[in-house]
């Protein structure tokens, strides 16, 4: 299993439903990853805004940590854990 710290901006398709934000898929380095499951969510404060973190698994059961900034509405891929 390989861990990588990334910290790169990504494009995310997300659903806002019932007061919750749910990422559905994301595009990173020209490849689209479909999210099979959101494993956990948590938040961290930066000044008066929050970063919202999402632990997600894709269809190949690789793990990614996505982060949404409510200050500037951007998404970042924080880290990945995958086979190989």
């Amino acid at each position: 299993m390989t861990y990588q710290s990334i910290g790169e901006p990504i494009l995310v398709y997300a659903l806002f439903k019932n007061g919750k934000l749910q990422p559905l898929s994301f595009k990173w380095r020209q490849r689209v990853y479909k999210i099979a499951k959101v494993t956990k969510t948590w938040s961290s404060p930066v000044g008066k805004y929050k970063l919202h973190h999402f632990g997600v698994m894709d269809t190949q059961e690789n793990f990614y940590q996505l982060c949404y900034s409510e200050e500037d509405f951007t998404w970042t891929l924080i880290q990945t854990w995958n086979e190989g």
């Binding site: 956990k40 948590w42 000044g47 940590q65």
Partner: protein, 411 residues
Amino acid sequence: MERVILHVDMNAYFAAVAQATNPRLLGKPVLVAGSLGTRGVITCPSYEARKYGVRTGMTVPEGKRLCPQAIVVSADAHNYVTTSLRLRELFEQFTPQVENFSIDEAFLDITGTERLFGPPVQLANTIKRRIREEIADITCSVGIAPNRLLAKLASGIEKPDGLVVITKDKIAEVLEKTPVEEMCGIGPKLTYQLKMWGIKTCGQLSRFPVQTLERRFGKIGRYLHLMSKGEDRSEVPPYYYYEKVKSIGHSCTLQTDTHDREVVRRYLLQLSEQVARRLRQGSYQGKTITLVVRKPDMVTLVEQTTLKFFTDDGVQIFQTANKILNKYSIETLGVRLVGVSVSNLTHKVSQLSLFWRERRKQLLLKAMDVINDRFGDFSVTWGRLDLKNLHQNNLISPAWRPNKKIYFGNI
């Protein structure tokens, strides 16, 4: 009505949260550490890692030697804090009397809730199930007993995912062979002193003359006697109870051991500023400044000074701590860890000074706080701080509690 107290103790909490977040880690030996490097200390090994003898407090290299296949992950304080707050919200659905003993332990007074939520065992199983369904796939051990002391003892009997009940009629039987060190409040020093008298179990302690215990340990002697019999009248306070803060501090292990005084001073300035900011956020000021320095050989030096006035100014705290630091020959001894704390606290009176120099400083600090509240810590700070190498704190103070408010005075 007889009291019913639950003690909920999350199992291998940091590691469990890491595994719930990243299911690829499930079933694998995981070491949660403050940092991933060779100086990292293991804050929580998973149960899979514990089978190899890995324990909290070991360094990462030590842990890897015992379990080479262990996966080391960096501690993520915000994830643990968020989860702990959600756990508390869940507990408060069953009773307003919830006391967080630490980030991963809580007491619940569920006396009189049977008509609403069923018998205590059913309620405990409901809590376990709802944690897994609604918060994260993590387990806890629950103890049920007539008081806090016994509930905590009970939760420690079966781990992980345990549920143990100590009823009133079973107390003497359970405590007869329970080692004294397993009672909350009896630490290694007290255990050693009791063993010198041939007291190893609670049963033996309960039969020991209480007058002798009082002569040796003072008031604590009587508490020991009561504890050995399983007696504890302490309450689980309601949710609105505020805990009095005694001190505020920060420390950090340097990336590498250093003999450079200027490097240590920069860390000390950052830590002093962090302490000062937390003081101001809580509307505190303090008089006693304590400096902690740990050498590369792990010997720790602690020294404090009490000022004649109260302060919440990071520069003042730094200057005081630096004066203490100047007594040590850093160049010869070397430094591995440095820390600073402020105690002897008082509630700050919100009033500007009449003296223009002091007034200007107060206004400057207030302006800095407003900017840092808006844009994040250290968005504006002292020029002397090395912003490129700011210490990032991934760890949680053992004193942190969810929803911990600030309060002065007795309730």
